[in-house]
């Protein structure tokens, strides 16, 4: 310990860790494929996702329709590609809302630990936790009607306390460290310390949680769309595709299985990425590498 061994630079050891983590590689690959599909769908899909072709309904896999057709003869592959767009966009924006509102709240509460402001932030968080995302969505749609935007708001609201609580907890432990005292002796205020010292040191935790919340967001979006509270037709969405195919599951199982697999793979990819990142960032492992 007392002898600092010669070591590679930070960037190089990080790169080696990333390449060494199989879950991170696999997870990024899967996620990358779906992100690519969503992006490609803007310029090209095998067929138009909305064009009906009743005579060719419920067809199996073929060279023309890679993943078959649904009950209206729409191309499933095209719908999956455009559906990826909906899923990823809704989850991404909702998590973004959670991060942008939750992290500052958490940092603020941690900087004023024990104060009234801290208490209010934390109690408000507890209150939101009493409403599972689905209940928020139900309340919103009961009054405003269903839609993708309302799904985003519902999932986003639910994400705020998740990030607020996580960043408060992580920030509190950093506030205990002596380098914070050193910064205060240097005359720095709480806001400045939060940005310069606290945020960079809790970033790893936040990144890992973001991938996890992202995958939960995709699951939530699918569930909301499935019960009709999410994106409305004609916008394709994986959850909606499942709802439509449910009654036909005995007749054409593949129409129900394909969108489900798309959800599973995306969520799996994101979770693997989260696990991998956690390993890469784990301070215990880093110390071992030093």
């Amino acid at each position: 310990m007392s002898m600092p061994a010669p070591h590679p630079t930070k960037a190089r050891s990080l790169r080696r860790a990333v390449l060494g983590s199989r879950s991170l590689m696999l997870g990024s690959l899967i996620t990358g494929v779906f992100v690519a599909m969503a992006l490609i769908s803007f310029v090209w899909t095998p067929h138009s996702y909305a064009s009906l072709d009743i005579p060719n309904k419920l067809k199996g896999f073929s060279s023309d329709h890679w993943l078959g057709t649904d009950m209206f003869g729409r191309d499933v592959m095209s719908m999956i590609m455009v559906g990826a767009r909906t899923s990823l966009a809704v989850a991404l924006i909702a998590v973004g809302v959670g991060v942008l509102a939750g992290v500052p709240l958490g940092l603020f509460a941690a900087a004023r630990r024990g104060s009234l402001a801290d208490e209010i932030v934390m109690r408000a968080n507890d209150l939101v936790f009493a409403f599972p995302a689905l209940l928020i969505a139900i309340l919103i749609t009961a009054v405003f009607g269903p839609g993708a935007v309302n799904a985003i708001i519902a999932i986003g609201i639910f994400n705020i306390p998740v990030f607020a609580r996580l960043s408060r907890g992580a920030a509190l432990s950093i506030w205990q460290r002596e380098f914070i005292l050193a910064a205060r002796v240097s005359g720095k205020g709480k806001a400045r310390i939060s940005v310069e010292h606290i945020l960079p040191n809790i970033l790893n935790t936040l990144i890992v949680q973001t991938t996890i919340q992202f995958s939960l967001g995709i699951l939530a979006e699918a569930a909301l769309a499935y019960v009709g509270l999410g994106a409305q037709p004609p916008t394709p969405s994986w959850g909606k595709m499942l709802a439509d195919s449910q009654t036909l599951i005995a007749l054409a199982p593949h129409v129900a299985i394909v969108p489900g697999l798309a959800i599973v793979l995306t969520v799996l990819g994101l979770n693997l990425m989260g696990d991998g990142l956690r390993d890469v960032f784990d301070p215990r492992l880093q110390r071992g590498r030093r």
Binding site: M1, S2, H7, F179, L181, A182, A183, R184, V185, S186
Partner: protein
């Protein structure tokens, strides 16, 4: 118990260690961090981390433990060999009562019933000084202090009167007065039960007072071993000599002429009171407030080094935070350079006082370069000096580091180097007063000696004053002109360092000094004893 020899080879951690302990004998194993002394203990217990490979032989009364299977070892641990660990705060299961935890040792190894095991637990706890009327078996660990918890850990280890007791830094986490009690307890138990004991520590003074024989370890090897007095008197190995020298090291100081009394103090604390609001307050219940600092007055004059000693919880850290203007006072006043100090004081005033903390690992933001870390106090200046980069390098060179270190990250440095960087950071605003809050407490003795030399040199050359806060009396003695003793929020004694140490007035000061293991006193007492025996 017959001779135990330990011989480990094959792993790069330990190289062919030979040790032996006889019944009723205390073997002291001394080494600095990373010397492999804890690994030696875990090897005997066969509780090594995964992937460790053990070679050689460990014989306990003829049985080779190194060849024992896991099942046999479980029968030996706790019954034949007991172990006491360093950190009493975490060594006990928080959700089980102390009675259950001591009785468990009995239940695992013998066929006694639960009632009988609890009876043994009660007797054992009484032996270690936890009488049943004040410490019933139904207590939980969180209801006990550190010293009391360590007694419970000892009770767990000796409940079945093992042949060998291994104590790995058993008192390092404790205050000196508690340390003295625990060491005395261990010594008594060894004599009563005729156990062998291996006492592992970094503190030469502790071993000198207690151990019959000692072994000195460095980098996984034993460099010297033998009867305690012999080793200290002959010191065959150069490492033993350097370790000894570092332990009694007195940094060379060209003391400034006695500071004139009429010079205005740079720091003047008058009747400071710091009250913490009660914790765990509810609508129904309001526990009393804690008076962490209770009417403290002190003054530091230019060029003067003042020590502040006291045990944990006495309020010395709270006082230092108040002096650094990090916390508001509830009473009294602090004046820096003649101006009132407080959390809202101007940055220019703050620049005159800087700080070095204890933890060489926690006091730097791991994501910043050394240059940025050292330059952080420039924030106190109205505008960053034009020669900022040059001044960072100057500060680094001042503390014995190199200019190119500025571009490295903190994890690339050892504990001693980090403490040098902390000092560089404190120097960068050219302050007149530096608060050293346990600044050398986490360092090994040889590194500590170097840092003390550096501090003495800086003080002489730059005319900086120190407020040197520590629980370690010997360190304070070596570097300060004046010393204050603090207890329960109050300063109980103050005076020139030598006077206070040679002729303590307050009973608490006497107790502290008596409890502090001193290498020289321990050795001379030992010499007397051995000449008495002759």
């Amino acid at each position: 118990m017959e001779k135990l020899t330990l011989d480990i080879g094959g792993t790069p951690i330990l190289h062919e260690i030979d040790l032996s302990v006889s019944p009723g004998e205390i073997l002291g194993v001394i080494g600095e961090s990373g010397s492999g002394k804890s690994m030696t203990a875990l090897s005997i217990m066969r509780l090594l981390p995964e992937g460790a490979r053990l070679g050689g032989a460990i014989r306990l009364m003829g049985n080779d433990l190194a060849a024992c299977g896991e099942r046999q070892m479980c029968g030996i641990r706790g019954r034949e060999i007991g172990m006491v660990f360093q950190e009493p705060m975490t060594a006990l299961n928080p959700v089980k009562t102390i009675g259950d935890q001591v009785a468990e040792t009995v239940l695992v190894h013998t066929r006694t019933g639960r009632r009988e095991a609890m009876e043994i637990a009660r007797r054992t706890l009484e032996r270690v000084g936890l009488p049943a009327d004040r410490f019933p078996l139904s207590r939980y660990p969180h209801e006990l202090s550190g010293g009391q918890r360590q007694r419970v850990v000892i009770a767990m280890a000796i409940a079945l009167r093992p042949k060998l007791l291994i104590a790995d830094e058993p008192t390092t986490a404790l205050d000196v007065t508690t340390q003295a009690q625990i060491l005395k307890l261990l010594q008594g138990l060894v004599r009563e039960d005729g156990m062998g004991m291996i006492l592992i520590t970094h503190d030469l003074a502790v071993v000198a007072g207690l151990a019959d024989r000692i072994a000195i370890m460095r980098q996984g090897e034993i460099v010297e071993s033998g009867p305690t007095l012999d080793v200290f008197e002959t010191m065959r190995h150069p490492y033993t000599r350097s370790l000894f020298a570092a332990s009694v090291h007195q940094p060379l100081r060209h003391r400034p002429p006695e500071p004139e009394r009429q010079m205005d103090p740079i720091l003047d604390v008058r009747d400071a009171v710091r009250i913490y609001p009660p914790r765990g307050r509810t609508l129904w219940h309001r526990p009393p407030a804690v008076r962490a600092v209770d009417g403290v007055s002190l003054a530091i004059r230019p060029g003067e080094n003042v020590g502040l000693v006291g045990e944990s919880g006495c309020g010395k850290s709270t006082l230092s935070r108040a002096i650094l203007a990090l916390e508001e006072l509830q009473g009294g006043e602090i004046r820096l350079f003649g101006k009132t100090a407080g959390p809202h004081m101007p940055n220019a005033l703050r620049a005159g006082i800087q700080v070095v903390f204890q933890d060489p690992f926690g006091s730097f933001n791991p994501r910043w370069t050394v240059a940025r870390l050292v330059a952080e106090p420039f924030h106190l200046m109205q505008r960053k000096p034009v020669d900022a980069a040059a001044r960072v390098i100057e500060a680094l060179e001042e503390v014995g580091l190199k200019a190119e270190d500025a571009h490295k990250y903190i994890h690339e440095f050892s504990g001693g180097q980090r403490q040098r960087i902390a000092i560089a950071r404190a120097l960068i605003t050219r302050p007149e007063l530096i608060v050293l809050d346990e600044a050398v407490s986490a360092l090994d003795v040889s590194i500590r000696a170097q840092i003390l030399d550096l501090l003495a040199d800086l003080s002489d050359r730059l005319g900086i004053s120190y407020l040197f806060i520590s629980h370690d009396l010997s360190v304070v003695r070596s570097i300060t002109d004046r010393v204050m003793v603090m207890k329960a929020g109050k300063i109980v004694e103050t005076g020139p360092t030598d006077d206070v140490f040679n002729n303590p007035q307050h009973p608490y000061t006497r107790e502290l000094i008596a409890a502090t293991p001193m290498l020289s006193t321990a050795l001379s007492a030992r010499r007397e004893r051995s000449s008495d025996n002759d």
